[in-house]
Structure formats: C-alpha cells, structure tokens
Amino acid sequence: MQSDERVVAALSAVRPQIALFRFAVSGTLERARATLASESGPSQTRVALGDFAGGRIDPDRFAMVSAGSAPLDVIGRAVVERAAEALESLLRAGDEEFVVDVHPGTSPAAAIRARMTTLGSAFGAATLVELVRRRTYDPVQHGLPFKEHPFEKWTAGERKLAPPVVVRVDGRDLDAFELAPLLDGCVRLVLLVDEPCPPAPLARLVSPGVFVAQAGDMKVVEKVADLDGPAVIAVMKGTEARFVHDPRAGSAIWQRIEVTHMPDTQPRKSLGTRSAWQQRDDLAHLKALVEQPVLPANSADALIAAIGGGNADPAERLTAWLLDQSSRAGVA
C-alpha cells in the first residue's frame, strides 16, 4: 500500500498534521518520564541533584522533601510506566499507522474508527499520566486504556489534536452519513477513492464548519494545513463532481463552496448502498448549495427604500425600519 503513489503523496500532504500529533505524543512521553524521574526516589534524586551534592546531601532525605505530596504508589508508577511504553510504541511506529485500507464491502467509517482508537491511545495515556500526577487515579474507574481509546471518548482538546488518517477506499463503500460523526475537532480524512464511485458522495457532508472537497489531486490537501476545523477530502480518479467547500471563504454557503466540475450524465444504476435516485439527489443537493439566492429586483429596491436611504448607519436604518414595522417607532 505504501508504494501506492497516491498514498505517498497523501502522507506528504498531511505531514504537518502528523508532525503535530507526534509532537503531542512526544510531549506526553516527556511528561511521563519526568513524572517517573521526579518521583522515583533516592536513586533518581541522587542523579538529579548532580555531583556537587555528592557527599553533601542525603538523597533519601531530599527525596522525601522533593516528593512534596504522597509519593507515587506501586500502581501509579506502573500506570505511568505502561503509559510511557505505549507512547514510545506510538512514536516508533512509521507512517503506515496513519494509513487505513478499507476492504471492499466493508465500512470505511468503522475502519477509520478502529485506527483512531489505536492512535488515540496516546490521549488515553496522557490522561492517565495526569490522573496519576494529581493522585486522583482510580484503577476501577479509569482502567488501563493504553491499547485503545475510542474516538467517542476523545475530549474536545484531543479532537483538536487528532491525527490525520489517509484512507484507501472503494467508492462504492463511501457513506457520508457514517463519516459525519467523525468530523469534529481538527480531524483530517484524506480518502483515496477507487472506481467506481458515486458522483457526489461527500455532498451531504457540507456543513458550515467542515472543509469538504472532492478533487482530482492532492493540492487541495494543502489548503487545510492551517484550518482550525475538521476536513474530509476525497481524491478521485473518474468523472465525479469536483468541488471545494471551505468554511473560511464566507458566511453564506454559496460563498464557501466552489464547484469546478459536474458530471455530464445522471447516474442510472445503484452503486453500493446508494440507489441511482440517491446519487442524483446528491448531485441536485450540490447544485442547490452553489446557487446564490437572488431577490427579485423590485423587492430589493423596495426593501432599501423601506429602511431608508442616505448615509445613515445600515444598522440604524434597519433598526428604524423594524421598529416602524412593529409600530414602536419613537419608543427606543
């Protein structure tokens, strides 16, 4: 799979997000190690105090002072050690950890969730380290979720640090409704779509804060590098619709979305779970999103006249008009 040129290109495009995630994992690992180092008793204290303290400071006694609150118990220490191991394992893993192969006929969302659960173990480890540090860790209540930390349990902060996932998927298996719950925080999904594929499988995902794109190459991925929000990008090979919905492009949906290509023909066969009608409806939805609302020429003029012309502040003019409409002019 790694030899797939599209996978290589996709990984390259999401490299900044991978680096950010690894940086977060690395920081958590440092914190775990620091916890172990600072609270690991006389031998570590002896080292940390340096050679100048040799023969002058009793590390046993100093360790009792520097521990401050109660020292780590055996369970707490084991938890932090296992957390550190899990984090080290994540850091050792290569780029393949960020690539998901979806077997044809299976759910891409489920495959993505499974991978996020694994990658999310970093967040679980970080949480446990903090709980131990604050002496509030309870084995019964908090468990040991080092191997898995389901996306559903990720906090808002963790979702902001979500690792990117590159997904190679059969177009027939794409289901926007299954993917929608994953689009939160700063989740990045890059879908490398194999033929055949419905013409607008992601159209239903367009919503105000989500970057959605169907594209023919990876260039569009670069656009989400500094995006503070979720993104899903399908890189396609065929004649499907091409569009970009960028939340930063405007307040109205027609300002945010740009369609560069629409298929010449309407779907006539069902594909995967999508019937022909549903596919046509996806395209119609996409078209509708692009349409700019236009008031009849005379109604626009009438509105302007009604709220008053001139150079007055538009807000004041609108306020005056509203008050007038509610027969409360002069009250304010």
Partner: protein
Amino acid sequence: MTAVAVPVESGLRPAPTVLKRPEHTVEIVSDSGEGAQKCGQIFGAVSAKMGNGVWTVEIIPAEIQPPPRTAEGASGNRIRFGTGPVTNWGDETNLVIAFNEQVLLGRHLLGTMAGDAIVLLENSWATNSNPDIRAAWDKALAELSAQSYRIIEVPMEEQCLTIDENPRKGKNMFALGLLAYIYDRSLERIEDQIAYAFRKKSEEVFQRNVALMRLGVEWAAANLDFRIDVPTHPPTEALVVMNGNEALGMGALASGMELCAMYPITPATSVSHYLAEVFTKFGGILHQAEDEIAAVGVAIGASYAGKVAFTITSGPGFALKTEFIGLAVMTETPLVVMNVQRGGPSTGLPTKVEQSDLLAALFAEPGDAPRVVIAPATIEECFHSVITARQIAETFRAVVIILSDANLSTGVQPFPRPQLKKEWLAPELDLAPVKEGQRPYEWDARMGTSTRAIPGQPGGMFTVTGLSHDEGSKVAYDAGVHQHSTAMRSRKLAVLQQTLLRPALYGDQDGDLLVVGWGSTKGAIEEAVDRARAEGIRASSVHLTFLSPLQPGLKEIFSRFRKVMTVEINYSDQRGDPFITEENRRRGQLAMLLRAQTLCDVDCWTRVPGEPLRPGLIHKAIRDAALTPGGDQP
C-alpha cells in the same frame, strides 16, 4: 645577575641543560593590550591537554587601560603546572616573561617571584630613543639585578618586526614559542590552540601568529642554554579545560536553565559572554537588562511565569539586587543568583579576588529573608553547583546564591568531562490544572514547603505580592499570619539542613588545629595543611560548601581540635593592632558565622591582598596557630 643570550654556532653549541621539575610556575606579563593573557591561556590549555595538572590565574590591572610601562599596570597570566594535580596558584613564580622592565618590577615588588626565578625580558627599551625610558630601564635593572634572578634579555621586538611591522603585535606569540621550546610543548597542539583562539580571525592572522610562535621556538633553540622538563601524564579519561565562569555558564546549560538576565560587571561578565555564544542553541535566552535591578527583576518575573531563570553579578551588583532578592524570598519564587565576588566595598577592586560578600549573601535584605548560599571550591564545582542550586531552588521555592569569586572565574583548570544527564535538566513545566482549592502558599505546616502554581496553569493565577500574605496570597498584616508565614519561609532551610551530610575532614579526625575554609581557597588550604602535616603539625581542614544552611555536626567536629581557625580572603582585625582587643576585634566573615552558630571560639586568619591566598602564607599561619600556646577552645 644579568645574562645576555649570545647566539652560538649551532654546530659548536653545547646541548641545553635540562632541569627536571615536578612543577613550575610561569608568568607572562605585559602592558594591557599586548596579548600576554592570550599567550598564557594557550600555554595553560596546551599543558593541560598534554597531561599536566594546571591552575592559571589572570593578572589583571585594576584599571581597564592603565598607563603603559607602569609597575601597577601589569597584565598577563600566571600558570602553575605540574606532573600531578594542581589545585591553586602556588607561592612563587619560577619563570617570567616580561614585555617591559616596569611590569617585571611590579611583579618583583609584589613578591611574586622566586629568588632564583628565570626572567626573559624584552630588551628593546634599553636602547629606546626616549631618554626617560632608558633611564627607567637602567633604574629598574639596577634593582632587579641586585636580586638573584637570572635575567635573560630577549630581542622580542626586533625579532617580531621581521614578521609583523607593528611592534606591539606578535610578542605574545613569540613568547609562546619561547615557552614551547623551554617546556617542550607539542607544536601541533599549540597550533591547534592558536587556531581556536583566533577562530574568528582570518587564515592570514592565524598563519602570522603561527609564524611568530615558531620564530620564538627557533630563537630559543638557538640562544637558550636550558630547558625545563615537567613530566606529563597523558590523561586516561576525557578532560575539559575551562575557567570558572565558563563552567558556571555550562552548568546553567546542563541544568536546563532557560533564561539568564544580567548586567555587565567584572568579574562576572564573561559568563554572559560565553552564554551569548551558545545559549540560544539550547533554547535559552540571555537578556542584558538596563541595570542590575532590572536584571534580577526579569529573572524573578520569568521564574514566576514558569521559566527556569537565573541572574549573575558581582558585589556591587549584588548590593543593587538585594531588594528584589527579598521579593523572591517573600513570593517564594525559585531563583538562582550567581555572585562572582571581587574586592569591595563599593566598586572596590573590580578585577581582584575577595571573599567579602558572604555576610551580604546571607543577610543583605531588610526583614527576615532566609535563603540558601552555596560556594563551589573548584572550577569543576562551579559547573556542578548550578545543577544542585537549581534543584534546591525549585524544590524549596527558594533563592539559592552561588558564591564564586574572581579566582575561580578567571582561573583555568582541567577536570573530567562531565557526563551530562537528562535528570539534571529542569522537568517539563507542569501545566496540569491546579488542584481544586489549592492555595498559592499552602505551606506544609511541618516543612514550610508548598506546591508552586504557575500562572499558565488552569487555576494557577494568583495575586503575587511582596507584602506579608497568607496562604492564599492575600495581603495580611495581622500578627499571627506574619509569624506563621515567616516561620514557614525559615523552616524550609531547616528542612534542607536536615538533608545535608556532615562535612568531610581533610586530614586526621582530631588534632591541634582545624582550618576551616570556603570557596576558592580549598586547594591552597589543603596544600598548606599537607606541608604542615609533613612537619609533624597535627592540622586538618574542613571546607564548607553550604554556608546557609550550614552542614550539620560542626560543633562536634570543632570539639575534637584544640584550635579552630578560618582562612578567608576577607578582612579581619589583627591581634596587636592599635585599639584592637578581643572584645572589639572584627573577625573573618565565616568565623563570625561559625562563632554565632556553634558558640565555639573560632579564630581566623584572613587577608585581602587582591590576589588568591598563597599556600606558603597559609602554611605559616597554620604553623603559628598550631604551635603558639593559648587561644585554645574552652
């Protein structure tokens, strides 16, 4: 005795006499700006790398640019090196290279030269066109020749002019060549060291300096009838060679310091020179503030915000920082303060060593402001003390003062290359939310310690104040709160003291005299004790590195000796001086402290000569104290 070297036909010239010595002390002295210090530094570094024990001391005039050709204006370097370890600058110089007769006269008048010292003296002044200079030469040579020195006139300027047309340039490298020949130093190593010294200069400058050095070697080979062999033992472990200020700077790096805020002051400034070159590579910030007060304020602010910060200064700067240090004590903001002591009071002796800031370090602030004071005794300890200081500062939310001095700051010594450890670094800043309900000064009632909150932590913000405050940092003037908070700030030192170990004795565990020292005098004191013990005197020494709190067991240790005497480079009244009685006698600063702390009759022998104490003088003081009846401890 004056001898003028006469070139001899190489084929007829007898082989030079080789004088084998276990150690030798060399001085290179010149007017300021003639590069004698660079010559000495290179020679010292090469000697250390070849396997000699080395201790160098810079000879620095009190003024930045003193008048040329004056006895007071001598600038240069003194290198004591030996086959074994060398721990101090020794007593007398065995060989002097002088660029003019006046600076040589200055060294003679200070009594730094051994009676049989060999002198290599620039002789161009004898024929100078200025009659006043010629007269001064004649007068000085009359005085010097009356001694038993062996003076060899060397045409340094004449020789150097064959390579460099500027007569003020190049003598230092020529002198380096003389030393290289006399002591059989590796020319390859010298060239490497020249390359390092002139690393910011052009290849042409390097080549010219090498040529001048080699010219010196050739001249010496052709004209000197002696060589001196101080056997070397190539080191079996990796060594580093540096001065105390570089060691402090490296210690700051090794301990994970993130910010140094300072204002230039001799002799501390070179710490910041070193850090200016390297600190940013390690993510550090070197901030030169507008004055000493601002510098410590920046360090405290940075520490309060979660950075690991320190400030560095010398006596006059320390005086200016006192109010802010009190703030750090009151706000329990971890802070490391390095004070590289010099002669005082006021601006005093900027370039000269003294140990007169001990009591200021302990008590300078108004109000009760307990703080930790430690004093490295060697250049190696300058490095390691910073690591310990940072740990203590953060563990106890305390101010830790490192008292170095001008002897350590400019002295150069080889020591084992530190094996850096990750544990030395400051741990990552803990920005986890502050525990619900935790107050900023929630003192452990027994230990006085409290968990530090960083403003960036959720819940970590609090109003910080220099006013008396309660556990919540709320200003509180009532008697109970102030009594309690003062006790808590003091208690921390008692707790730290409980973690300290009894100091180790040098020599026997009991005897007639115990010498107590601190700071840079350790090597000289122990050498003096060795000499005294070799004479059968029952003397031992103990060197204190923790001055506040003091290490435990001192009273018991003192009780095992008939007399206890501190040796310090600060002032004390001498017995027998006019008006001085046992009642009004002012004693050395450590002696005062120890008397108060132990109620023992601790005597002192102190001097403020503006130079490191010589082991020979300490030896004499030990002999006098140990062999003189009376003055015993009750």
